[in-house]
């Protein structure tokens, strides 16, 4: 069972990135639960978690959102590699927040990145995920928390 405080840590790690880096806060949509493999956008940052909890946290965003975010960061390179770097950095910051709040009981991996048209998220059968929509300007990304 995912605790509210744990969810809050992951959400804050994500929204803090938008607020500080883009100087424009993101808002949170209504979270929902789903079973099975959630659909993701073109770019996804992945953090594996073990120790006291087992599972995965994903930040997945569409290319259009990342492009605007890069513009807000005064970045001129909108290549595939830069998009991957950007979702990797967001995942990195979610991971950093989690380490600070959860301590050494949670073993949090170095973030990795998935990209492409329809990347499939590896999901254990019966595993349920919390999906938290992250809305920023006219775009929407998702934070997916799958922990047991």
């Amino acid at each position: 069972m995912l605790h509210e405080q744990e969810l809050k840590t992951f959400v804050e790690g994500t929204t803090n990135f938008f607020e500080v880096t883009a100087q424009q806060p993101a808002s949170i949509g209504s979270p929902y639960l789903m079973e099975g493999s959630p659909a993701v956008h073109e770019y996804t940052g992945v953090i594996n978690i073990s120790g006291k909890r087992q599972g995965v946290v994903y930040f997945t965003a569409p290319k259009a959102m990342l492009t605007v975010l890069l513009m807000k960061m005064q970045e001129n390179d909108f290549s595939h590699e830069t998009m991957r770097d950007l979702v990797g950095e967001v995942a990195n910051m979610i991971s950093g927040n989690a380490r600070r709040d959860f301590g050494r009981d949670f073993v949090i991996s170095v973030p990795s990145v998935l990209s492409g048209e329809k990347p499939q998220l590896p999901q254990k059968p019966g595993m349920r995920s919390f999906i938290i929509p992250i809305n920023w300007r006219s775009h929407s990304a998702k934070l997916i928390v799958s922990l047991t």
Partner: protein
């Protein structure tokens, strides 16, 4: 024209510091390079991991280093110790998403001089570098 050349031509004696940026993300390296606003800080190179950073450090002898922690091949903590062993006077600013105290303490114990959490604003970066160069 580089700052050091400009200073030489003006007869200025103002010291120019050499900067090296270490981060495994190209995006973050460019961000730090673009955001730092010190005329007397000249970028001598960037590296994507600790091993590259050590090689570049030996070639360019920087005075100021910004250092990520989580990197492939050699992480920032290990790299800081090696850089300080090569040049004890080097000033190192850790710029990392690892927000826990233990990481900051470990970096300081290895010889880092400052710690800036990601994400950061341009102002926070420049204040941290100014503190480092004081």
């Amino acid at each position: 024209m580089s700052n050091s050349n400009a200073n030489a031509m003006n007869g200025s004696t103002k010291r120019c510091f050499k900067l090296m940026i270490v981060d495994d993300s190209n995006l973050m390296r460019r961000r730090i390079e673009r955001s730092q606003q010190f005329e007397d800080l000249q970028l001598v190179g960037t590296a994507g991991n600790g091993v590259e950073a050590l090689e570049l450090f030996k070639k360019t002898d920087p005075d100021v280093v910004t250092m990520d922690i989580t990197m492939p091949r050699m992480d920032g903590i290990e790299c800081i110790g090696q850089l300080v062993a090569l040049k004890p006077a080097v000033r190192i600013l850790v710029i990392s998403a690892l927000a826990d105290k233990a990481t900051a303490v470990e970096a300081m114990e290895r010889g880092a001089n400052g710690f800036l959490n990601k994400p950061f604003t341009d102002r926070q970066l420049n204040e941290a570098i100014a503190e480092l160069m004081r």
